[in-house]
Symmetry: C2
Subunit: 553 residues, 2 copies
């Protein structure tokens, strides 16, 4: 059993595509700090999220459970009281769990009330924050509309901007996510026409550096080393609005925008759900080259800024000696279509949306075997919870956590007997897509099963599936979902999906170990079923009941 | 919308076969009191439990959810904190929920502790008792062995016997479930050789009359009518040990024992799980005619006694005027093989195990259309929770309760658009069966899908299914699970099973109504995704952001 890690720094970016780092092959972006972490750790090339949307994906990361298991199917659907999280598991082995940044957690207020748990009690607060102790919670969506704010919490980022002298009621909207036009006028960063312009905020006050500073404050707080910790440092960027301050707004231009991965064939007789996604405003926008040429350089600038902030953070970790005892993970909650497949945003299952970058730096000597290498095993987001619990010295609660530990792969063990299919899910019930497709809310659900070559997308509601062969069609341009030639391959992927759907996911109140201890024990607790005269069982088992002498012969 | 019922009397017997009442066709048993209830209510002829084992079946009755959804897979597996129950739902509409008898509930002690809920607080006690306020809790299994008691609680029934002067430490073992031999000696009722002999207890002090008296005490308690109530009157009998006091022990004999439903063909190349069940001690016992000739008359005596107690109870209800305002339900948690198919006990999916008697008397005038009739719609145990909530005046929380209301059927509505398949499950992980079959605990699970004609039994762990055609083979003697001629019928049942397995079962913290209210609302909360220049959305939606005059043209 390898030694344990002392701390875990679990860094998540939001909407960072797997292929927008230099170490994952982007031809124009240079991300030397993340590359350097990859050179000291292991980079996973086939890591997938459990749902390509912020909230549901994160609830899977934090619980180690599939979306169908935890039930927080979509953004702003509460994670129900009773679901256990990383924080619960880690505290059991003496590791604290802190949050610096975003979770997209929606508390189960009704559940708390029903169980008489005060939301501001220690237990209530942790349940409300999906198991974390909050250093700072900032989901990074401080936007407002005529019906009010998307996120009704007080905004620590807006408070920071106000304290720094930014003169606005909502600095996120008016400064950090607005741009300065040539004439000095400002306008919202929602208008992509202008997002080649610099954000209306000093670079050091923009969201990524601000959160990095909060993380450094956390790391350097006196007494921080008194207890072991996991710190979830969770950035909003490069998530939209795609606005970046100078000088990052000018680092990339239309010349660095890769051509979209799409084909006209995709629009001929498309799958009904894919078709409905293609009709959304964001998809139509990102299908326009002028939008891509504004948004993508800005998106790249945000990533470059993020990488620079990683440099700042990693320097601090080295200075403090934390590279010796701290596991560092960098990942994302999903990707971004950026116009590929005629789509914007995420929410669907092409690799640019559902696949994520994943770098794990493990300080333990056992990981020396894999430093700087890549691993192509099929990894799921839920594996991190299992990995963290085990690395912290705990036993993975396999009756609760559905992910698999990556520690073996980190330490150079073979990936034989590894999983052979990854599953991802999407609930589009509260979107206009459901109405366009004409399905009930309950049927507005998609499942992906991918075995490393074949990708099946099943849609509830009586529709055919989508199906891709990533070996012959790595860009996922040819939907074989209705091609009779692939019937048997589709059936094979459906078998995987259905074995998964039948899985045991809710027997979480009794562990595998406790179950072992129960097995076959009831005879010795007096359940003497099936006896005719007592001769069938050892005499000792009859010692507690009135037995006629001679029954047991 | 029909008027609501004032009270609900939810009577459950344990291990009562669907076909062991005179109204369901038993040729020798006379159960006039239950028959009379059926003549005033509606009798369901195709009602199935969610799992043919006490604890899991009951947790489905009480939560209205499938076993795979609530996770209490097997007896003594805790129902996790957070699962909502009948009591939770009914109290919301002003109806109390009381328990008189058995639930087989195992509290989630770790879950309570983790959430800081004291087990003896009102909330903690209800969570621990699966939502009921306990009048008396008696699971009726007060047996002990060399490793201690099966049920470690204090036994109210043993306290009663002691107070009545029975001189024993454990009256359940030494009196109620022991028999008096001819020479006056007593021996345990576990020995089936002697269970034609009378129980060593006065009839009025045996378990069924004792619990009926507790129910009558409940009904007649001063102030009982001040609040609306559901009373779950839940008997242990005719569950084993098959011991009955005089005069019921002599009412039936070998001449009234029906021949076993079984064939030698069932033993030729049987399904591995069926085979393992056939090898259990209880199965081997019940395969012997001498065991059947002892146990079945006693089982019938227990049912006859139960029916007489129903007469006593119903008379009390009539006297108190409760037939006017109280819905009365009589059912069972599963059946009993009694030697059919070479098996004893339950735990498997032949109708004698998984199908239950179900009589519902609805006092409302709308139910006059169906009085005395039968209904052959495919009913699941989880339907009762939905039925009760609606009959009490509540809205069925369809995001939590997976059952369907029976009120429409009770009121003569057509069963068109009714479900076309029932699902049942079995987890045999803690039994010796798992070892015999050679599957892991996690794979020790079975699923049944039955569409009214075809019955599929799927076994995890790479085994073939079992498959029966109840039209050509109503006794379920011919397993077609490996017959190539039935491939397409099996595939059709598998489709049903898998559509069920993919169902949405854990999105319980947000209601369908709340979800409707969220749909498509984020644009008006400032999520302005996909704008190029603002011309894409109504001007009003831009009112809260800095917008350059003229963006929106």
């Amino acid at each position: 059993m390898p030694r344990t890690v002392r701390n875990i720094l679990f860094i998540m970016f939001d909407q960072l595509r797997w292929d927008y780092l230099s170490c994952t092959g982007h031809p124009h972006l240079q991300t030397p700090h993340l590359d350097r972490l990859a050179s000291k750790g292991l980079r996973f090339t086939n890591a997938y999220v459990q749902s390509p949307i912020c909230g549901s994906s994160r609830m899977s990361f934090y619980t180690g459970r599939y979306v169908q298991s935890h039930g927080a199917q979509r953004n702003n659907f509460p994670l129900k009281v009773g679901e256990l999280t990383l924080g619960d598991h880690l505290r059991e082995v003496g590791m604290d769990a802190f949050l610096v940044g975003k979770t997209h957690m929606e508390a189960d207020a009704k559940g708390l009330e029903r169980l008489g748990i005060a939301p501001d009690s220690l237990i209530g607060a942790r349940v409300s924050e999906c198991g974390f102790d909050v250093v700072v919670r900032d989901d990074g969506l401080w936007t407002e509309g005529p019906d009010g704010a998307y996120d009704p919490r007080p905004s620590p980022y807006n408070e920071y901007l106000a304290a720094k002298g930014y003169n606005s009621r909502n600095g996120w909207t008016e400064h950090a996510n607005a741009v300065t036009l040539e004439d000095g006028e400002i306008t919202s960063g929602w208008f992509m026409k202008y997002i080649d312009r610099p954000a209306n905020v000093a670079e050091e006050d923009s969201e990524t550096p601000w959160l990095t500073s909060r993380a450094i404050d956390f790391l350097t707080e006196p007494g921080r080393d008194d207890h072991r910790w996991l710190c979830h440092l969770s950035y909003i960027k490069p998530h939209w609005p795609y606005v970046v301050p100078a000088p990052y707004n000018t680092m990339y231009g239309p010349g660095q925008v890769l051509p979209p991965v799409r084909s006209d064939d995709e629009k001929r007789d498309p799958h009904p759900v894919f078709d409905a996604y293609m009709q959304t405003l964001v998809a139509r926008s990102f299908s326009r080259q002028e939008v891509r040429e504004k948004a993508i350089p800005s998106y790249m600038g945000l990533i470059k800024q993020a990488d620079d902030q990683m440099g700042r953070l990693f320097a601090e970790l080295e200075r403090a000696g934390r590279m010796e005892d701290t596991m560092i993970v960098v990942t994302s909650d999903h990707g971004d279509y950026l116009g590929d497949h005629w789509l914007g945003e995420k929410n669907f299952f092409h690799d640019c949306s559902v696949k994520i970058p994943l770098i794990i730096y493990d300080p333990r000597p056992e990981a020396d075997f894999t430093r700087g290498q890549t691993c192509d095993a099929l990894v799921e987001a839920i594996d991190l919870a299992a990995t963290f619990i085990e690395a912290a010295g705990g036993e993975i609660p396999s009756h609760i956590v559905e992910g698999r530990t990556l520690n073996g792969l980190l330490h150079g063990k073979s990936s034989e007997n590894w999983r052979n299919v990854v599953i991802s899910e999407m609930d589009y019930s509260t979107t206009p897509i459901a109405e366009r497709v004409g399905v009930t809310h309950r049927d507005a659900r998609l499942f992906m099963a991918f075995d490393g070559r074949w990708k099946l997308v099943h849609a509830e509601g009586g529709m055919p599936p989508m199906f891709f062969d990533l070996q012959s069609d790595p860009e996922e341009l040819i939907d074989l979902g209705r091609d009779p030639a692939y019937e048997s391959e589709r059936a094979r992927l459906y078998e995987h999906l259905h074995a998964w759907a039948r899985r045991l996911s809710q027997r979480t109140a009794i562990s595998d170990r406790e179950l072992d201890a129960m097995s076959g024990k009831f005879l010795r607790r007096g359940i003497l079923l099936g006896l005719f005269d007592g001769s069938e069982v050892p005499q000792e088992n009859l010692s507690t009941i009135p037995a006629r002498p001679g029954n047991n012969v």
